[in-house]
Amino acid sequence: MLLLFLGPFVLLTVLFFVMPAIITAFLALTNLDAAFQGTYVGLDNFRGLFADPLLPRVLLNTVVYVFFTLICFNTGLGLVLALLTTHIPDRVGTVFRAIWLLPRLTPMVVYGLLWLWFVDPTKYGMLNTARSWFGLAPLDLISASPWLVIVLVNGFIGASLGMVILTSAIKSVPDDYVRAARVDGASSLAIVRHVILPLIRWPLTFVLVNQTLALLTSYEYILLVTGGGPFYDTTVYALYVFRRAIQNGDYGYGAALAFILVVVGAVAALSYWRLLNFERMISAPKIEAD
């Protein structure tokens, strides 16, 4: 019975989670290349990390990208959207929240296309159409400020998760507290600051941790919109792994790079045991027939 019900799950997760994690560790100790030739090289790949001329740039990119997207959009704008849409009649608030959810459900290549059009360097893109109304010359935003573009591209998707989670958190703040504060003469901002924010501290922490990890490991939208360029200017760590390993075929070195992300991901994943209400989740079943 146990084998029938849990067997397929265990088999697939071991094969595609546990095995690849082990393979990553072993690959990292080889110099497997595009021709799939490689030998054991010990820790050479990890020593190579310190000599990689591109890596400092990539690490700086990663910090800038994660920090700004996380603070301005995934947490900041997510919180603002949640606060604003719960402050107006719920029917209208739902419409705005639905709009912000749309990019997350859009196939990512289509979403990438929307941005490629928006920032198109010729006069046909939205940005340059709008600039022409003010008599401004077309601008190639991807070359001019690639950073702004990839933060915006990821931010407009990233804000929705925080928005959804924080909205439900704000809605669960007891009405009495808000009314009591209002009777005492508190302004809307004071209510947000002193009543709502302290009560949603925990979901806010969750969003912060969850989205840091998500941003640290995702790169598909950067790949679609700038390809990590110009040169390596918008290549973040996770994209660097992809470019070195999958695009250039440096599987050994790429695995060493990936191994660090795997470790970071594993540590973060384990910290979820504390973040989520684990005790409640494992409450024992009531029928113990077996």
Partner: protein, 314 residues
């Protein structure tokens, strides 16, 4: 606070006066007016920051059906020519001799195989495991749940390099089966917790009464519990269908043969070839590709917006 209050001088005679009804009404009106002003400002702000999302989608639809789009979103000259990729076989590339776009219906078929295959595996495996973990006690149950929870939080995308090597050694590169297995497996922990949640929500009494009536656990599962969990099964089926349908990175990495392309790779290639030449065609392919996601969005946005902590993943 108290010190400052003492300094306020209140004119004699007004000290104990109650506010008149007129004054109260004026105060209430002022509060209402301020509330209306606040609401208006919120609407204005929300509209303004939502424009960068709304405008591109309006453009996408406008551009797909028209010859020209002016001012960003105003279409002019209705045409279906942008949809010619649906009936012109082997639409050619503008530049180079790199080859031709594969037949769109072949691509749609590949995408459907990927999406349906992923949904089938995820639904069957997570329904089995979700039920068992919800209703049965066994030694190591806590350990199993802990492991699954960690896997759910673990970013599977970091395993891409190793998965590539793994699929290559299993001879599954270029095959849809390899991509299906990878996408399904990496989303299984999430689906497991969704299904566990739905089984947790079914009252124990229902299962108890089936057991008292003489049904075995297995029989109680498929005659009593499964029908009760159909909403969960439907939700997991739709989610996993879309994971397969919208995936980009895994097909990009594991599928190299043109004949195995999915919609993501097709649109990507159209963008690569037509980027500055034919936005109408790109938009039409984009709208076509978006149809399943859009339907899903229209029918489920209300439920999606009610997701709370515990069943979420970026």
């Amino acid at each position: 606070m108290t010190e400052r209050m003492e300094q306020v001088t209140i004119p004699a005679g007004q000290l104990r006066r109650w506010r008149t009804p007129q004054e109260v009404a004026a105060l209430a009106q002022r509060a209402r007016r301020r509330e209306v002003l606040t609401q208006t400002m919120i609407y204005a702000l929300l509209t303004l920051i939502s424009l960068p999302i709304v405008v591109p989608y309006l453009w996408l639809v406008a551009a797909a059906f028209s010859e020209r789009v002016s001012y960003g979103i105003i279409p002019s000259g209705f045409t279906l020519n942008n949809w010619r990729f649906l009936w012109v076989a082997n639409l050619g590339f503008v530049s180079g001799t790199a080859g031709r776009l594969p037949n769109i219906w072949q691509v749609v078929a590949n995408s459907l195989v990927l999406a349906v295959g992923t949904a089938a595996i995820v639904v069957v495996v997570s329904t089995l495991a979700g039920y068992f973990i919800s209703r049965h006690g066994f030694s190591r149950r806590a350990g199993f749940l802990k492991g699954a929870l960690a896997l759910q939080a673990f970013p599977g995308i970091t395993l891409l390099v190793a998965l590539f090597i793994l699929l290559r050694s299993l001879n599954l590169l270029n095959s849809m089966l390899g991509v299906i297995l990878v996408i399904a497996a990496l989303h299984l922990p999430f689906a497991l917790f969704v299904m566990k949640g739905f089984f947790d929500g079914i009252p124990w009494d229902i299962e108890m009464s089936a057991l008292i009536d003489g049904a075995s656990r297995l029989r109680a599962w498929y005659t009593v519990l499964l029908p009760q969990a159909r909403n969960g099964i439907a939700a997991v089926a739709m989610f996993s269908f879309l994971w397969g349908w919208t995936d980009y990175i895994y097909v990009l990495t594991f599928v190299l043969r043109r004949s195995s392309w999915t919609m993501a790779l097709y649109l990507n290639s159209v963008i690569g070839e037509y980027r500055f030449a034919d936005y109408g065609l790109m938009a039409a392919v984009g709208v076509f590709y978006m149809i399943p996601s859009l339907l899903f969005f229209l029918f489920t946005q209300r439920q999606l917006l009610q997701i709370t902590l515990g069943g979420t993943k970026a």
